[in-house]
């Protein structure tokens, strides 16, 4: 079966410094794949390369057979990659519901003139968007907060909202950047269940960056370890986590 995401020799240099070098990975559909490594290894840079925030200087990214290397952010999202961010990036002044509705923007359309003149098309599409957005929020138990200003949500809920918004774009591949950051063990446990739920309910493929080893070993099928911008080890989660080189990279000599 052809991989959903095939990355070949991906690399980027910032002024002579190779932040990411010869990054390869193949992720199968419906996999829960983990990207781990010490701080500063280049994990978020890989995410930024995959989502078009940075343009790679080397290599290729192929999503579901489609070569998406070098495309802009918006284009890559339309092709099917959505993400969350290390530092939560919500639309702070918009309501919780509106945050998700923005995610629905490209798949529920009407023209600006429709909006200004309040045509029937406007009414119908808005109604569908409201329904769909509430459905998504319900999955994350956020529907009760739908009229809250996004910045007023508690931290853990903000993270979930970011995921809900990303899912609203109907992606093929979901990238989660340190989703458990700042969470206590209970919240992390809840998050693990949420991620599994997302994979099952939305037929999703998920690539996540994480430092929390309990979460990584709990839900990831396979891992890639990044160190100094290069792939150190790849394979089944348990094999990788017990590999002496990997342990050395994290704990030092």
């Amino acid at each position: 079966m052809a991989a959903l995401l095939k990355v070949d020799s991906l690399g980027i240099s910032f002024g002579g410094l190779k932040a990411v070098d010869k990054f390869n990975v193949e992720i199968e559909k419906n996999e829960l794949y983990g990207l781990i490594g010490p701080n500063g290894a280049g994990k978020t840079t890989v995410f930024n390369l995959l989502t078009g925030v940075y343009k790679p200087t080397n290599g290729q990214i192929i999503l579901d057979g489609d070569n998406i290397t070098g495309l802009d952010c918006e284009a890559i999202n339309k092709k099917g990659i959505a993400r969350t961010f290390q530092n939560i990036r919500l639309f702070s002044q918009l309501s919780v519901l509106d945050n998700v509705k923005v995610g629905l923007h490209n798949n529920h359309t009407y023209s600006t003139l429709d909006g200004i003149f309040r045509t029937p098309r406007f009414r119908n599409v808005e109604k569908k968007m409201d329904q769909r957005a509430l459905e998504l929020l319900k999955v994350f138990e956020l529907d009760g907060y739908c009229d809250y200003k996004a910045s007023n949500l508690p931290y853990g809920q903000q993270r979930k909202l970011e995921i809900a918004r990303a899912l609203a774009t109907e992606p093929k591949l979901l990238l989660l950047d340190e989703p458990a950051a700042g969470m206590n063990p209970n919240e992390t446990e809840e998050l693990m269940n949420t991620i599994r739920l997302v994979r099952d309910k939305f037929d999703m493929t998920i690539l996540l960056i994480e430092h929390d080893m309990k979460l990584v070993s709990g839900i990831c099928d396979r891992l890639t370890v990044l160190n100094f911008g290069q792939v150190l080890k790849q394979g089944l989660t348990q094999d990788v986590l017990h590999d002496p080189e990997v342990i050395k990279a994290y704990l030092g000599d």
Binding site: T44, N48, V53, F85, N87
Partner: protein, 294 residues
């Protein structure tokens, strides 16, 4: 050829004034992170104070200059403490509007006290015009003094920033206010000093400007203020060498445009150059690109 050199020199002189004022803008922006819209009007206050000191009170020129600088320095520090400091945590738009209010305040106070009638400003430069190239080229004393003053100020400022503790403190605050506080830097004092220096410079700029273009009204500072702002942005806002370069380029361009193209359109041409430069270099000539962390 001679006329070109004359225009060029006058442009350098005008540019020097813009540079001196732009320095104040850029320093305040870099350190207090605000656009002090009232800066141009401090120039005007400097002009009027000098005028009174010289003509009404009859003080000798150097003393009048010092008095003007002192008044402006005091004014700058007071404005900062009363109107800007309380808004340091607020969003930048609020401070901008407050600065606009201060600008209106200064202009209208001046109008109340001095009326809108232009005052004839007697030059502060006692130098006679210099004749060169067998009498073909005449350089006014004001031009020479302005250019020299500007050069001295810029060199002095750069030395101050790099070599003194207070200057380094200013640099630190402009990079990271929070970290500077934690390192024991007196942030309030540093910001006050920034406004003080900027205002004193505005006073000098005002005196030099009025010496060369001798009419003084309550709105004299407004357009030069805007142009100095443009100069600061042109050179890269927050950069001291940038303010210098921006000011000089602006002054020269404006004068050459007035001379060779059209005096009606000189402003349009100058502003157009700014736009073209920013299109090519969005952060200004010497501006730093700030990378946003994703």
């Amino acid at each position: 050829m001679m006329s070109f050199i004359t225009y060029l020199l006058n442009g350098l002189s005008l540019g020097s004034v813009y540079a001196i004022i732009a320095l104040g803008y850029t320093m305040v922006y870099g350190i207090a992170k605000m656009l002090n819209f009232a800066h141009g009007d401090i120039l005007m206050v400097g002009g009027y104070t000098a005028f009174i000191a010289l003509n009404t009170i009859g003080l000798p020129i150097p003393v009048a200059v010092l008095v003007s600088m002192a008044v402006c320095t005091l004014l700058g520090i007071t404005i900062e403490k009363v109107a800007y400091k309380p808004l340091r945590q607020a969003n930048s738009l609020s401070v901008l509007i407050t600065a606009i209010g201060v600008s209106y305040l200064l202009q209208n106070l001046a109008q109340l006290i001095f009326t809108a009638n232009p005052k004839s400003f007697s030059s502060f430069v006692p130098l006679k015009p210099v004749k060169l190239a067998g009498g073909q080229l005449t350089i006014s004393g004001e031009t020479i003094v302005t250019i020299v003053t500007c050069t001295i100020i810029v060199t002095g400022l750069v030395t101050f920033i790099n070599k003194t503790k207070a200057g380094q403190a200013m640099l630190a605050v402009s990079e990271d206010k929070g970290a500077a506080t934690l390192m024991g830097v007196d942030v309030n004092g540093t910001i006050s000093m920034t406004f003080a220096i900027g205002s004193a410079l505005a006073a000098i700029g005002g005196i030099l400007l009025c010496s060369a273009y001798p009419t003084l009204t309550p709105t004299t500072g407004a357009m030069p203020g805007i142009k100095a702002f443009v100069a600061a942005v042109l050179g890269g806002i927050g950069s001291i060498p940038g303010a210098f370069i921006g000011g000089i380029i602006l002054g020269v361009l404006e004068n050459l445009a007035k001379a060779y193209i059209s005096s009606k359109l000189s402003d349009a041409i100058v502003f157009s150059v700014l736009i073209i430069v920013l299109l090519v270099k969005p952060t200004g000539i010497l501006g730093k690109k700030i990378m946003e962390k994703v």
